[in-house]
Symmetry: C2
Subunit: 326 residues, 2 copies
Amino acid sequence: MASVRRLRDVGEHAWIGRWITRLARWPGAASGGRVVVGPGDDAAAVRPGPHTLLLTTDALIEDVHFHRSWVTPAALGRRAFAVNASDLAAMGAVPRFALLALEAPPATPLATIDALARGFARAATRVGARLVGGNLAAGPHLALTATLVGEAPGRIVTRRGAQPGDLLYVTGAFGACGLAVRRLAEGRAGRLPEIPRRTPAGVLLARVASAMIDVSDGLLQDLGHVCRASGAAAEVELDRVPVAPACRQALGLGAGAFAAQAGEDYELLVAIPRRREAALLRLRRHLGCPITRIGRIVAGRPAVRVREQVGRPPHSARGGFDHFRR
Amino acid sequence: MASVRRLRDVGEHAWIGRWITRLARWPGAASGGRVVVGPGDDAAAVRPGPHTLLLTTDALIEDVHFHRSWVTPAALGRRAFAVNASDLAAMGAVPRFALLALEAPPATPLATIDALARGFARAATRVGARLVGGNLAAGPHLALTATLVGEAPGRIVTRRGAQPGDLLYVTGAFGACGLAVRRLAEGRAGRLPEIPRRTPAGVLLARVASAMIDVSDGLLQDLGHVCRASGAAAEVELDRVPVAPACRQALGLGAGAFAAQAGEDYELLVAIPRRREAALLRLRRHLGCPITRIGRIVAGRPAVRVREQVGRPPHSARGGFDHFRR
């Protein structure tokens, strides 16, 4: 049996050196005149454009955000890029430069680390961004901390601009990732679904939105963040929340409530002033994904109220995901 | 006995929320008109200046880079900033915006996390940079992955410009951290020394240097990186390497060899073309630290040769630090 080459067999510097050589050969890697110094030096150097720069960082930690059997190394690399790109999309920004800090046990097969870095770098290239730097360190488990620098070609949108009367829309559908996680946690075979690419939708929605957030902790919990930041309340009609087909099929009547509280769907949630709804509907076919109206912002202390069925009174919601309290 | 409040008692979002409130109150936090959106949204938004942007990321991982008894939480936060600021200094750049991704066990006392974040944020403020974002996630151990965005007010310097005939200079002195680590590993009481602030020196040295690197892996190993990147060899006179007083006192005759191979001193190593040596000596008193000539770049295949004493022939060196091979 051929022996598996592991990280400790080549060492940190040799692995990084090999990767830099590979990245330099990538089509497109040299074409971006804005990268003055790429990977392999103390820092990367890039030329800033005239636009506002957006900075975000997020981590995927083994046995917290994923188990190795849940996701292939390449998909994990793509995911580390995508969770950050999702944060940028939620501000109306496009990823430009990426840094990837890896933590891995010395016994990790080289093929795993390579596939992971390749998945990340390809996800960056696909949207016109560059992997310009990173870090590799020994650790007891696998962890990927990525940082993206993005640019907002137009308006940027925060969580804090929602006003009473604004309509609440979401992209895509909810519950697919939550269902997959539930099944995987039960020991069933499967993989985490890929994170949707909402960069084009984010940039377009930023033109008309008063507030926007990406849904990572769960729709109701992230809506709660918008309410707190904006100093307003929200009403959600559970019947309207778009549910991923697999989730609907598996959970039937309970699917809506599950989807509204499940995490990691990475769809966008936007507040749209009524006067801009016509403009939103004109943008609709350029977004690259469906959008659905699910509720509205109302006056009041920050809170999310859920109406389970039309005609029933709304009740307060508490849901979502917090790493330290489960 | 009063019970200790731990991270799991407040949760991720509450901790982040508290921190954002604190940061907003900090003197100077609001004065930087370049931060359009600070911490607490999906991403931070900043206005780029006209200068080249430098991007770098580095991690401090518990039981790999430090043990908790080796460093106070505040010093650990400062250290996470400083190791990245050192990378920027080695390119001639000044930190402007910082992101801190924290990984911590749920049982971590709140006071530890707070002191850590405060140490980081204060280190940033002290050099005119802003903590604009970050992440907090549960994990089996403490880990800090920081990303800095810096600006180069003038010329940037990489590792690859050294030419035969260039003189090699270093800032400060070597061996203090290596000695501390050796003593701590033997179970003796003590702390890791603070990382020197070489940002002003880096910016000034960038005016005259042909190549520059910060010494994190060990002087000889990092000089090896410069040689490989520049396609040249180097000769170091061991007698000339400035040794930290504590290291000299503890190790006597062996101190030079130890200091040249010990890691984590975070001093700068620069190659200076002979014709610019006079300019370097004029800058000297503005650097804020001593500089010492330790050797020179010579023609030949990339290698570092060490002359232990004047008159003795040089021999090839192999030293330094690689996380996966020890």
